[in-house]
């Protein structure tokens, strides 16, 4: 009995240590973002943000580079979300409401395409965009992003569409609604959670994406937020960096993402692991 208590105690301690290890970089980012440069450049690190201020955040927000990057990121991301939801919704309707020839191959293709690495395609996409004159163009990047997120979005929405029984729609039609009316009044509201979850998924992908943006947005003025953040790291290779500001900038980029992520995490991971964890 004693041995068991000791064992549980040790395991709990181990779990807490590991939790701290995983959360530490996030804590360190927020902590440093609140500290003045004097504290960050001293030889002894400051572990708690006592006497900290929001000066770093103020400096970042007034940086014209940040404002331009946030504008570009928002434009690309919102375009991607809108386009991906619209296109994927139609696709999801097709595969969950109809049985048609080529349906299986279509799903198979979607799943395979979803696995294709951007890193194995970006050179060709770069050449394509440059010959279309779409380098450094918000629409150009949004097209590539939409194509990247649509396969998984179709897959994710399909589950939600299939979850709304057709019988509901049919019952409404028996009661005198047209097919379109039945769809808009009955099915569509029931799909709202699915659309929100898929929209957030597309948002996170486009907001965080780095690789394709790096290749396609070559000019300084066309930088998205991740590219702008990377600019700081590049600068740190050659000279002393204002880490307080970098961390404030990272925090600003990360906080909305973390909140959104916590909302949809369960759905995203279950989409990835599929039925493998089904009881």
């Amino acid at each position: 009995m004693r041995a068991k208590t000791v064992r549980t105690g040790l395991l709990t301690a181990l779990a807490i240590v590991l939790a701290l290890a995983w959360a530490f970089p996030v804590y360190w980012m927020v902590n440093s973002s609140l500290l003045p440069n004097v504290a960050l450049q001293s030889t002894t690190p400051t572990f708690l943000p006592f006497g900290g201020s929001f000066d770093n955040f103020r400096a970042v927000i007034s940086d014209p580079g940040f404002l331009s990057a946030i504008g570009i990121s928002l434009a690309v991301t919102l375009t991607t979300v809108a386009a991906a939801l619209f296109i994927a919704f139609l696709g999801a309707l097709a595969i969950s409401r109809f049985r048609f020839r080529g349906r299986r191959s279509f799903i198979l293709a979607l799943l395979l395409i979803q696995m294709l690495p951007a890193e194995g395609l970006f050179i060709a996409q770069y050449k394509m965009m440059s010959s279309l004159g779409l380098l450094n163009n918000v629409i150009g990047l949004a097209i590539l992003y939409t194509a990247a997120v649509v396969p998984f979005t179709v897959w994710m929405l399909r589950g939600f569409v299939a979850g709304v029984p057709v019988e509901l729609e049919e019952a409404a039609m028996v009661d005198g609604l047209s097919r379109t009316q039945a769809f808009l009044r009955i099915t569509f509201p029931l799909l709202a959670p699915g659309l929100v979850a898929s929209g957030v998924y597309a948002f996170l992908q486009a907001w965080n994406e780095f690789t394709v943006a790096l290749v396609v947005m070559t000019e300084q003025q066309a930088r998205t937020l991740p590219l702008w953040l990377r600019g700081f790291v590049q600068a740190s290779a050659t000279r002393e960096t204002d880490w307080g500001q970098v961390m404030a900038a990272s925090t600003l980029v990360a906080v909305p993402v973390i909140i959104f992520f916590l909302v949809v995490q369960g759905r995203m991971s279950s989409g990835l692991v599929g039925g493998a964890v089904k009881g």
Partner: protein
């Protein structure tokens, strides 16, 4: 919110659009059955047209261009406008025979294997730990993992670059306290320590997904079976080896596969560590190598061949994954 919700998207095949025939058919049986039937056949095809069009333009065309370009040679002359010449399999031969190219391929595969296996091992360990500890501790651990998982890649990279910074990074400060002579040591300057740093970061980022997925699998293992085994005298290790692992094998193989695919294509982490001071040509993996060859050197032929190799490897690895997902579908 803290615990993963394993079965939300997966729909039971029985509900929804279960039985065979086209669903668009109007329920009014008398009205024009032939037309309705024809429409029923055409509607789903119209619905997938936007998806198909987008994928063909943004992914299909580049794949084909890449495949064609991988058989061409781009050199000095092509930079001045000469059309590239067809060289057959030369670019692919170079991947296998050219020591520099081969080194990149070998490094990528080694990095991928080491990171993926470490991630799954640590993730599995954390999942077991989550089961062994009390509720509160488990939720704390899950929240910490979710926090790390939620971080945008580039934001976490800036933190990591700062943590390992050679001037005032926390890592060197800690090592000096522990009595290691690490004052002013630049971990990114040498390839080996560069890859150790990169692997630590990649594992840190990937473990949450693996740990939470395996934990979700573990919660499905019935306690009765485990108790029965215990009564029959099976020790902890035996229960793990002969009962738990076989029962959660599907989850384990899927997360390992996904991890292999994702770690093969690792780009952002390597690129940003290179930006922060790594020596590019000694630390290139497939992604950064293609990037440098293509956008930097303009050698689209070799870049395309390496990309095609990467795509082929990914598709081969994905095949099993996609098939196992498709089984759920039908």
């Amino acid at each position: 919110m803290s615990a993963p919700q394993p079965v939300i998207v997966t729909d039971e095949p029985a509900t929804g659009s279960g039985s065979g025939g086209p669903r668009a058919e109007s329920p009014a049986p008398a009205a024009l059955p032939a037309r309705a039937k024809r429409r029923g056949r055409r509607v789903p095809l119209l619905l997938i047209v936007p998806t198909l069009a987008l994928l063909v333009v943004a992914l299909g065309y580049p794949v084909c261009w890449q495949l064609a370009t991988s058989f061409k040679h781009f050199g000095m002359l092509q930079q001045f406008g000469q059309p590239p010449e067809w060289v057959g399999l030369d670019n692919y031969k170079a991947i296998v025979t050219d020591p520099d190219l081969w080194a990149v391929v070998a490094r990528s595969i080694a990095f991928c294997l080491v990171s993926a296996l470490t991630t799954v091992a640590i993730g599995g360990g954390l999942a077991l730990l989550m089961q062994a500890v009390g509720r509160v501790t488990r939720i704390i651990l899950q929240l910490a993992l979710l926090l790390a998982w939620a971080m945008p890649v580039v934001a976490s990279m800036t933190v990591w670059v700062w943590l390992v910074d050679w001037r005032r990074g926390l890592l060197n400060w800690l090592l000096v306290r522990l009595g290691v002579d690490a004052e002013g040591h630049n971990w990114l300057a040498e390839p080996l320590s560069f890859f150790v740093v990169a692997a630590v970061i990649v594992v840190w980022m990937s473990v949450p997904f693996v740990a939470l997925s395996i934990y979700a699998g573990l919660t499905q293992v019935s306690t009765e079976v485990l108790e029965a085994a215990q009564i029959d005298g099976a020790g902890g290790w035996q229960r793990l080896r002969y009962i738990i692992v076989p029962l959660i094998a599907p989850v384990l193989s899927i997360v390992l596969l996904l991890q292999l695919i994702w770690d093969l294509r690792v780009f952002t982490q390597i690129k940003i560590l290179q930006d922060a001071g790594g020596v590019a040509n000694e630390t290139d993996l497939l992604g950064t190598f293609v990037y440098r060859l293509g956008t930097g050197a303009g050698d689209f032929g070799t870049a395309s061949a390496v990309s095609v190799f990467m795509l082929a490897l990914t598709v081969a690895l994905s095949w099993y994954y996609v098939r196992s997902i498709m089984k759920e579908e039908s």
